[in-house]
């Protein structure tokens, strides 16, 4: 006799509602899509421009987030023997972009890196209204996802493996490279995925800090928003593209790299 599953049937109600809440809007999108006009709407050069810009900047932002975020996650994960105040401060600072409304984040970036910004005024080049600004805005809002995800994975790694590696003669950097990183790789992959998709969908910080110019700073979410003003069908078409990209990213990641997130 198969073992009884310990899943209370009553939980299906809130679970079902939750699932419906997440899925039905997407169903609505697909149903109302102007399938007949799709080829015409999507073949406009502005669409290709926006899509290319979005994917390129999101990829770059994810790479930057990995390079900066993984060490930061390590600092956070191994900070248990620090005094309380610096430890809590760093953790709070890393979490701030998550709770800040993205537009506020954009304004903050302007005040720091804009032409008259705290740092920006001393720079020989201008940052706002460039693709670099798009990347910076995306890193600001998306990196915390990666940091917190990797930190969680790092805390779950048995630190005694690192001790064993040390007794075998490995230096601290070698231990990080050959033992810690590989053991934490699934967590890093999950964090990178979250970061990429968050960067892809970023709107408020980008439009405030980087502005909007086709091919340069007009990402797909911004293009979609602008289209919504005059041509909702075009906006729906662009939304479908964004949805498709997200699904492709999710599906192409194999399960053993991101266990639990993919099918």
């Amino acid at each position: 006799m198969p073992p009884r599953r310990s899943f209370p049937p009553l939980l299906w109600i809130p679970a079902g509602v939750g699932l419906a809440l997440l899925v039905l809007p997407l169903v609505g999108l697909v149903v109302r899509a102007p399938w007949g006009q799709l080829p015409a709407l999507l073949s406009q050069s502005s669409v290709a421009l926006a899509l290319g810009l979005s994917i390129a900047t999101s990829l770059i932002s994810t790479v930057i987030a990995l390079v900066l975020g993984v060490p930061l996650a390590l600092v956070l994960a191994r900070s248990y023997d620090w005094p309380a105040i610096p430890r809590r401060l760093i953790r709070a600072l890393v979490t701030v972009p998550l709770v800040l409304p993205p537009v506020v984040g954009g304004v903050a970036l302007l005040l720091l890196l804009g032409r008259r910004g705290l740092i920006g005024q001393f720079l020989p080049f201008q940052i706002p209204f460039t693709p670099a600004a798009v990347v910076i805005a995306q890193v600001f809002v998306a990196m915390p996802f990666l940091v917190l995800s990797v930190e969680g994975a790092l805390r779950a790694v048995d630190t005694r493996y690192e001790v064993a590696a040390a007794t075998l003669g490995a230096s601290r950097f070698t231990i990080f490279r050959r033992i810690t990183l590989p053991l934490v790789a699934p967590g890093i992959a999950a964090g990178a995925l979250l970061c990429f998709t968050r960067a892809l969908g970023e709107f408020g910080a980008t439009i405030t800090f980087a502005g909007s110019f086709p091919g340069r700073t007009q990402t797909l979410p911004i293009a979609t928003y602008l289209q919504l003003q005059t041509d909702p069908d075009a906006a729906i078409a662009l939304s479908l593209v964004l949805m498709l990209v997200s699904v492709v990213v999710l599906v192409s990641l194999r399960d053993r790299w991101v266990p639990g997130v993919t099918a």
Binding site: L111, S212, F213, L228, Q229
Partner: protein, 247 residues
């Protein structure tokens, strides 16, 4: 509370000497106006309509006016999709059409004006400077009324602007100018007025843009609000903000 207000106004009405010409609010002291009015208005109307609504609510204490500002085209789309607005005040006849509203009346006009950061460090003097690639320029996106108007203006003057960013509504352009992030932007003269001190204006020779207003639902208070906007009081407040009279 209603009864008290009614009695008070009844008394006042009786005390003001010769029977007063009914103001355009068509105020009936016996059954005062009440209810809620949701107004969708173009971003360039922000301060002015807030003032108008405040005075309207003072005169009609039982009416609550809720204002929602944004790019007219976005608002028009929302209305077409069924957003619960009672009144729509748009920045162009085109967007009013797009919303599907009928029976619109023009209540004001506006003209485009160049906005530069206070101090005008870049030394902008006119529309020709917009073609200068070394300057940071912000314009409204062509999908919104002020963007369409800007586009027409530049085509008329045969100037190709070297734009750095197309913003999603006129207030976003204004903000970028205020913050000094761009050297110049093209906004409405009322926006320059609203941000006086933070920006300087340079007049341009542009055609006036009509602002229509329409009632969307069968709401007595909404009709009263529109009438108030069109009344002498409302028109004075619009003029004070820099709007031109309706054509």
């Amino acid at each position: 509370m209603r009864l008290l207000a009614a009695l008070l106004l009844l008394a006042l009405a009786g005390c003001s000497g010769p029977s007063p010409t009914p103001s355009t609010t068509d105020f009936d002291p016996v059954s005062p106006l009440s209810g809620e009015v949701t107004v969708f208005a173009a971003a360039s109307l922000t301060e002015t309509f807030e003032r108008i609504a405040r005075v309207f609510m003072q005169e009609n204490p039982d009416v609550t006016v809720t204002l929602s500002f944004g790019g007219s085209s976005g608002l028009a789309t929302q209305i077409a999709e069924g957003a619960p607005a009672d009144v729509f005040a748009a920045a162009s006849p085109t967007t009013m059409q797009a919303s599907g509203a009928t029976g619109a009346q023009n209540f004001a006009t506006n003209v485009l004006e160049i906005a530069v950061p206070a101090g005008n460090e870049a030394g902008v003097t006119g529309l020709d400077d917009f073609a200068n690639a070394d300057l940071a320029i912000a314009l409204c996106a062509v999908e919104v009324p002020c963007g369409a108007a800007s586009d027409t203006l530049f085509k008329q003057k045969a100037i190709t602007p070297s734009v750095d960013t197309y913003e999603q509504d006129v207030r976003a352009v204004l903000t970028k100018v205020e913050l000094g992030e761009v050297d110049a932007g093209l906004v409405y003269s009322t926006d320059v007025e609203a941000a006086a001190g933070a920006v300087q204006g340079i007049e341009v020779d542009s055609a006036a843009v009509d602002y229509p207003i329409a009632q969307l639902t069968d709401n007595e208070a909404a009709a009263a609000f529109i009438a108030f906007v069109l009344s002498e009081k409302g028109q004075k407040m619009l003029a004070a903000a820099g709007f031109g009279a309706a054509a």
